[in-house]
Symmetry: C2
Subunit: 267 residues, 2 copies
Amino acid sequence: MGEAAIDGRMMDGRAARLACRHGKVTGTTAGLAPGYVQGNLVILPREDAADFMRFAQANPKPCPIIGVSDVGNPNIPALGADLDIRTDIPGYRVWRDGECVAETGDVCEFWRDDLVSFVIGCSYSFEEALIEDGIEIRHITENRKVPMFRTNIATTPAGKFHGPLVVSMRPLKPADAIRAVQITSRYPAVHGAPVHMGLPAQIGIADVRTPDYGDAVSVHDDELPVFWACGVTPQAALVASKPAFAITHSPGSMLVTDLKNRQYAVI
Amino acid sequence: MGEAAIDGRMMDGRAARLACRHGKVTGTTAGLAPGYVQGNLVILPREDAADFMRFAQANPKPCPIIGVSDVGNPNIPALGADLDIRTDIPGYRVWRDGECVAETGDVCEFWRDDLVSFVIGCSYSFEEALIEDGIEIRHITENRKVPMFRTNIATTPAGKFHGPLVVSMRPLKPADAIRAVQITSRYPAVHGAPVHMGLPAQIGIADVRTPDYGDAVSVHDDELPVFWACGVTPQAALVASKPAFAITHSPGSMLVTDLKNRQYAVI
């Protein structure tokens, strides 16, 4: 968030989204509009959309779809009355043939009539529940983006899409890690329970202090690194699968919706 | 269980209890009467019973009480129609002033009219749910008693009772450990979710291969030791608190009841 110009904690989802649209938020959306669901974004041409939908369905932990647009329509009314997917995220990535070719604050110039937008649940939703339970979230305490890692766990391929599972990591004391499993299990639509904890080398992570996406955070000796499936997984799939064109959010810069996190608790 | 003289997997709770009563089961009751609740035992004179009840109430994770007898009555009809607490457990310990002074297969000769029996939930109940989910339980695979450890975590004292939390340990791969948190969270009356995992030194356990009670089991490099609060905790409290007289079960030799494990699932 840019230089504390605005206080995102006082906003509702729509106000936060408008602040992003108008350039008043330029970095991470963490902490913006508490209580409101934020989402990861993948935009693909219609010809790749069906494959991606199958990929998401086959990999529900990293890719829980919470909203899909009509073809060519930049609005997704189910997620926000006036939502414009081309402008409402602080940071986008534009991809060609599996390479990120641009990072930008709006994608109007890249828009096409054949594009379909997929919004995928985000761990910010369950982080709120963890914080309410008194659990410290290190990257929030240290004012960083959550650290994310490519793993050696393959996603289930579908059509042209394949690639490694990407995970986010939060260091927690063991008792908090156990409590975090309980709490996040209530939110299957926003990544749910962790996929791994405690032995990062097992999932191909050599050093929890050097993430592939986001920022490094402190990990203390009395803590276990706890790993959740991450909505950046589709970006690793873009790299591996090389579709001709795609747009995504920039990791950490999410779409703020009008939905409430509590709607996603199953019990 | 003695030399496979009987097949405990074919028994109901009552048949298993009678087999124990008649000396046909002499060691662990693990695997006996699948589906039926087994319990830890603490018997105390009436003068200490109220303190112990408060101790259990203050420490519900290690001491979830599932049955209490009337004073001097060796029956507990709520747990089994013909249950006789003096004979129905394969192995007892008799305690005087905090020392175990006898190990025996029945305690009729020690019975007194002022004794109150407390039956406490046992991890065998949730182990069944873990196994049904496809999770390997090492001490069962290796035909041992579950390894148990005194920790550096103090129980909440009540009246004369105090002492360290005792935990049972099961080594699990991280993904299984996460699933085990979910499954055992459904069973709060039989110890519920783990209390710790992955960093045994933090709770005062120097070596997970040298338990204080039960047997050692293999722990592999790709596994986390996962620790649950244990119904042997009252025995550590007897050592620390030194009441004049008590009877307990011998760790691993439990009371088999007529209740079903599934009755204890909260969701």
